[in-house]
């Protein structure tokens, strides 16, 4: 039950070529939709039925998001793909772009047809040069084959698709910052509402979905929403790509059914390196609160299971840490990241992320004070929920998670001015 959707061409040689994609039935469902003139509403209904939830991290139901667009409103509408993969620990969209770009293109054309958009952009992070070139090559092939452009396959439906390259800013993974970035500005998130479905790119109705979400669409339409939903579990339809990294033998990207036990995923990834003990897992990208290893071994990889343990499935980026890691040092690095990447727009985040980093840094370097633990909690609390976008929450959550489960390590650092883990 692995590699059934986004990675289904991975076993082929040069799977990124259009003929390889078509050898697995690629673009057939697009042809069918266009020739049968499937009702757009029926497509949105099918996506809703699939239980597909946004794979970028927020987990918002994709079909519902699409239904917010007033399809018949006059003027341009846009489909935007978020390939600005940057949540630490996440490296799955890179593989879709490199190995199965045509499935993403097909998904975007279907999305355009469903919401009445004739233009789309794929925002790829600027560092992803190889994936960008692969995607550009795929665009050329798709245009040549008549799957993109004007009057696609004689259906009267037009869809133009372009790549926009980022230039290094984590915040542009936030959907409205991404839109600002395409508009040629600093990537600072917009106040919502209005939501992109009403006021998106260039002020037009826009849907923004993650790479993996859009690349899942062709298989949902080919096999049916129910088929997709049944692969997963309740509230977590489908399979999902998990990027697993850290102190393990065989890190990589695995497409497995939602609800798969974490222990099985860890086994697929070759288990712990050097036979060491699992200490902690960050289950959904660095914003997801840490979960102690023993507890994680009992959990399943789906939204409800991970949420039940006080964390989140996020982008499916699983960072596995063994017992040689100092959790203060891990949090110090994560806090530095959010401080570095805060766009500077909202005071609680701009100033608060700096506070978080400086406090954790002084604890890590033996300068910590007893009151620092409460101060950390307090600062995190003053950021969370008080900013325009979720970066503030993303910075606060790991702090709260670390203090919940590994407070004793922070306390030891403060009391003894050194680390309790041998390697610290």
């Amino acid at each position: 039950m692995a590699n059934e959707v986004c990675l289904r061409t991975l076993d082929l040689e040069r799977p990124w070529l259009i003929e390889q994609y078509q050898s697995r039935g690629g673009y057939e469902v697009l042809k069918k939709i266009l020739s049968e003139k499937t009702a757009p509403e029926a497509i949105i209904e099918e996506v809703k039925k699939s239980g597909l939830r946004g794979r970028g991290g927020a987990g918002f139901p994709t079909g519902l998001k699409w239904s917010f667009i007033s399809r018949n409103a006059p003027g341009q509408k846009y489909v935007v793909c978020n390939s600005d993969e940057g949540e630490p620990g996440t490296f799955k969209d890179r593989d879709i772009l490199r190995y199965n770009p045509h499935q993403l293109i097909e998904g975007m054309v279907i999305a355009g047809y469903a919401i009445g958009a004739t233009c789309g952009y794929n925002y790829i992070r600027g560092e992803f040069w190889e994936p960008y070139e692969r995607f550009e090559q795929a665009l050329e092939e798709a245009r040549e084959a008549g799957f993109l452009g004007e009057d696609i396959l004689g259906s009267g439906f037009d869809f133009q698709l372009h790549t926009h390259l980022g230039a290094g800013a984590y915040i542009c993974g936030e959907e409205t910052a991404l839109l600002e970035s395409i508009e040629g500005k600093k990537g600072q998130p917009r106040y919502k509402p209005p939501f992109p479905a009403h006021f998106g790119l260039y002020g037009c109705p826009t849907i923004i979905n993650n790479t993996e979400s859009l690349a899942s669409i062709p298989m949902i339409m080919e096999q049916g929403g129910e088929w997709f939903a049944d692969i997963g579990v309740k509230n977590s339809g489908g399979p999902k790509l998990f990027s697993i990294s850290g102190n393990i033998n065989n890190p990589g990207v695995f497409e497995i059914p939602m609800g798969t036990p974490f222990s099985e995923l860890l086994a697929m990834a070759g288990g712990m390196k050097d036979g060491r003990k699992i200490k902690a897992v960050i289950p959904g990208g660095s914003s997801a609160p840490v979960i102690p290893g023993e507890q994680m071994m009992e959990l399943n990889m789906d939204y409800d299971s991970i949420a039940g343990a006080g964390s989140m499935l996020g982008s499916g980026a699983v960072i596995v840490l063994d017992d040689t890691n100092c959790m203060v040092k891990i949090l110090e690095r994560m806090s530095y990241f959010y401080h570095e990447e805060s766009c500077g727009q909202c005071t609680p985040c701009r100033e608060g992320t700096g506070w978080l980093y400086r406090i954790v840094h002084r604890i890590e370097t033996g300068q910590g004070r007893q009151e620092d633990l409460d101060l950390l909690d307090d600062v995190a609390d003053k950021i969370a929920g008080k900013t325009i976008c979720a970066l503030g929450d993303a910075a606060a959550m790991p702090v709260q998670g670390m203090l919940r489960h590994f407070r004793h390590e922070f306390q030891y650092h403060i009391d003894h001015k050194r680390c309790m883990v041998g390697v610290g």
Partner: protein, 168 residues
């Protein structure tokens, strides 16, 4: 001096570069030339040895009908734009969590010792510069670095040596 700089700049802003920028402009609605600013800055940065001068940013602003300040905002916001000279090979090392727990600090230490420079510095011969970067989305190959457009993964000090040797 001012005239020399202006002349040098217009030489950098060749018809080829204009044509490349025009390819970006063509992707966006006619009234949104500004959308091409990131593409344009990347192109002129590359043609200028990897960094942006104020004159180049001004040229981009004029070409895209943007106020210069709007271009400076973009150039200072995104981490891939450089506002001072970099090495012919800009070495970007990821030190985020997955790389850190796979000993990226040893890679950094090795590079610093070998090149005699720290983060944000350029070797005297201009061949290399070092930069610390945030997660580049290749955690499965940690520790990793990017040089130019290329990713290098699963690094060891020996592999780093072999990579650097192959660079001009």
């Amino acid at each position: 001096m001012t005239t020399t700089t202006a002349k040098e700049t217009s030489e950098l802003f060749t018809p080829e570069i204009r044509a490349e920028i025009d390819r970006w402009i063509a992707k966006y609605p006619a009234e949104w030339k500004q959308s091409a600013v990131m593409g344009a800055l990347m192109i002129v940065q590359e043609s200028n040895g990897g960094w942006l001068t104020t004159e180049l940013m001004d040229q981009v602003a004029a070409y895209l009908d943007m106020p210069p300040i709007a271009v400076y905002e973009v150039a200072t916001f995104y981490s891939m734009f450089e506002l001072k000279p970099v090495g012919r090979n800009k070495i970007c090392v990821c030190t985020n969590v997955s790389c850190m727990t796979n000993k990226s600090d040893l890679i950094v230490e090795h590079l610093e010792k070998k090149l005699g420079i720290g983060f944000g510095e350029v070797t005297e011969d201009g061949r290399f510069s070092l930069k610390e970067v945030e997660c580049l989305g290749a955690c499965g190959g940690a520790p990793m670095m990017q040089i130019g457009k290329q990713y290098y993964e699963n690094l060891t000090p020996e592999i780093v040596d072999a990579i650097l040797e192959g660079l001009e």
